[in-house]
């Protein structure tokens, strides 16, 4: 692909009409709470955008984030934008391999120093030799590549928060990008995998506005992660009425009742699944009958079982309660024995006092 081609030209060469592109821009604008008056400006800016330099680094990951973006049913504008921007360096997608591939990364770093975007999927093992690319550890490659970056997008829960590789006992001592890079603007786009629109949305926002979108306290774009899935869930009326599926094949499940008792983590999860949905708005996990697993939240692997519901305690209740009862019996029995001894002593003292004057008078 020529580096001079604009995004608009590229999309048209792929058969995307301007009308469809404007539709995409308005979806994006509404998702990212950009005023509707800005849609035209946004479309124009995006259309004229020249290919931005992007380096995509893949570390301890499963490639699910890339797959999520690329393997949609029909080539979406999201995936095409992704194609458009991401070809400088990407293990999975680039044609080059070995030292030629590494040269491409180094060339981009030099030619676009201070301007290129770094997208990262996967966490980084602190124990360097657990994951290397072309003999370079993930940690060193990240630090080296991030040095000249304009901004970093941590794509997927693994790069944003450590994800599955960081799950207890975290054998590789996996770290998130934010734990390593402290001096660059970082946007976390978590999810296992993240919603494709959230990835392209952040990129489109950056290309249009020249800055990163507003973020929440976990570094996620508020436009996609500002709302609780439970608050946007179409099963919510069943939750409010107290109608719950008790198992995956009972009447409640067939009638589409709330999945709260089956461990749905949506009440503590922030993501756009319930309204943006997946596969071009076809469905999302709760709609297909499985509760949310909370994949866009830090450490979701270690926050209780997938089928443990939100309010249930996260501890071994049988052991704790048995221990508590035994402790109570021991301490209670001890207290009772001490109290009885004291009582007898007092009784004895009173009896002694009562008998003392008698013995005095008798002598």
């Amino acid at each position: 692909m020529s580096k001079e081609i604009s995004l608009g030209g590229f999309l048209r060469s792929q058969g995307i009409s301007r009308r469809a592109f404007l539709g995409f821009c308005s979806t994006l604008a509404s998702a990212m709470t950009i005023p509707s008056g800005m849609i035209e400006v946004m479309a124009k800016t995006l259309e004229q955008t020249r290919r931005p330099a992007v380096i995509w680094l893949s570390f301890q990951e499963c490639t699910g984030c890339t797959e999520s973006l690329l393997r949609s049913h029909a080539p979406s504008i999201e995936s095409l934008i992704f194609d458009f921007i991401s070809l400088d360096y990407h293990h999975t997608l680039q044609a080059a391999s070995g030292s030629a591939a590494e040269r491409a990364r180094e060339e981009t770093m030099h030619r676009h120093a201070g301007e290129y975007l770094v997208l990262v999927d996967g966490s980084v093992p602190k124990i360097r030799h657990y994951s290397t690319i072309a003999g370079v550890s993930n940690l060193d490659m990240l630090v080296e590549t991030a040095a000249g970056a304009a901004a970093i997008l941590a794509v997927g829960t693994c790069s944003a928060y450590g994800g599955l590789p960081k799950a207890n006992p975290n054998p590789t001592q996996a770290l998130s990008i934010g734990e390593i890079i402290k001096d660059k603007p970082i946007v976390n786009i978590p999810g296992c995998p993240p919603i494709p629109l959230a990835i392209t949305g952040v990129i489109a926002y950056y290309l249009t506005m020249g800055s990163l979108p507003p973020l929440d306290h976990l570094g996620r774009p508020l436009a996609f992660f500002g709302e609780n899935i439970h608050d946007r869930c179409y099963r919510r009326p069943f939750y409010d009425r107290g109608l719950f599926a008790e198992s995956f094949d009972d009447e409640g499940a067939r009638k589409g009742w709330c999945l709260y008792k089956l461990g749905c983590k949506a009440p503590e999860t922030y993501n756009a699944c319930a309204h943006v949905k997946w596969n071009q708005g076809t469905s999302f996990p709760i709609q297909s009958g499985h509760g949310c697993i909370g994949c866009s939240e830090p450490d979701f692997w270690d926050r209780g079982g997938i089928y443990t519901s939100t309010p249930q305690g996260r501890f071994d209740s049988e052991l704790s309660l048995t221990l508590a009862a035994s402790l109570g019996v021991v301490v209670g029995a001890g207290a009772a024995v001490l109290a009885r001894r004291k009582k007898h002593r007092v009784e004895q003292e009173l009896a002694d006092e009562a008998s003392a004057p008698e013995s005095q008078t008798s002598t």
Binding site: H230, G313, G328, G332, A333
Partner: protein
């Protein structure tokens, strides 16, 4: 570890251990103490039976005291019943209890739970207002106010969590669990133990009075 993970993990676990160990400790410590035999001749042959009956008959004030105590008696009943419905009726609580014991039962719709929660809180406020406005009647100690606080907090935070008032839901849920943990941990050591003591203290006074021939 987030505040929620901390609250529904080690904090609530420790609070439950303290509560159960504390209750058994206090019950055993007091009940194992025997009283010296009363050598007097009982004036009422059915004294013991009548004494035990007091556990139930004292559930409502006797007519002489009714006018003076109606307000707090009614409020206390409203509070206890509404709280009971909230504690065992709403689904998140049933889920918590099920996680702990395995027992489960059908829950109430959220609207009923919220209504009962509001009623419970309103009656609790009505009770503290009376206590504050009639210091001579109550001779309150800090323990009275603290007991009120540890009961009010789970209600306030629970209602806030449901209504999504203030901080994010998971933070409110964590605060609610922390408030419940404070309640559990304090339960054996303050006035809240009346949940157990009322049976023994009523029976004890009933038996003592009945033995002496007092009309009860």
């Amino acid at each position: 570890m987030t505040l929620l993970d901390y609250a529904r993990g080690p904090v609530i676990q420790a609070a439950l251990v303290i509560m159960i160990a504390g209750i058994i400790w206090r019950l055993l410590g007091v009940l194992v103490l025997t009283r010296a035999a009363d050598l007097s001749r009982p004036r009422d042959a059915f004294g013991n039976f009548k004494g035990y009956r007091t556990v139930f008959s004292r559930a409502w004030p006797s007519s002489e005291f009714l006018t003076a105590t109606r307000y707090q008696t009614v409020m206390a009943y409203v509070f206890h019943l509404a709280t009971l419905v909230v504690v065992i009726g709403i689904v998140p609580h049933i889920e918590f209890i099920q996680g702990l014991t395995g027992a489960s039962w059908p829950g109430l719709p959220n609207g009923v739970g919220v209504a009962c929660g509001i009623i419970a809180l309103a009656s609790l406020v009505a009770l503290i207002m009376r206590r504050l406005t009639k210091p001579a009647v109550y001779c309150s100690t800090w323990g009275d106010y603290f007991a009120w606080f540890v009961v009010a907090m789970p209600l306030v935070t629970g209602l806030m969590a449901f209504a999504h008032l203030g901080p994010r839901y998971e933070t409110l849920l964590a605060l609610h669990i922390l408030a419940a943990a404070l309640f559990f941990a304090w339960f054996p050591f303050g006035k809240l133990m009346h949940a157990f003591w009322f049976v023994f203290s009523r029976a004890q006074s009933g038996i003592a009075y009945a033995r002496k021939g007092v009309q009860i």
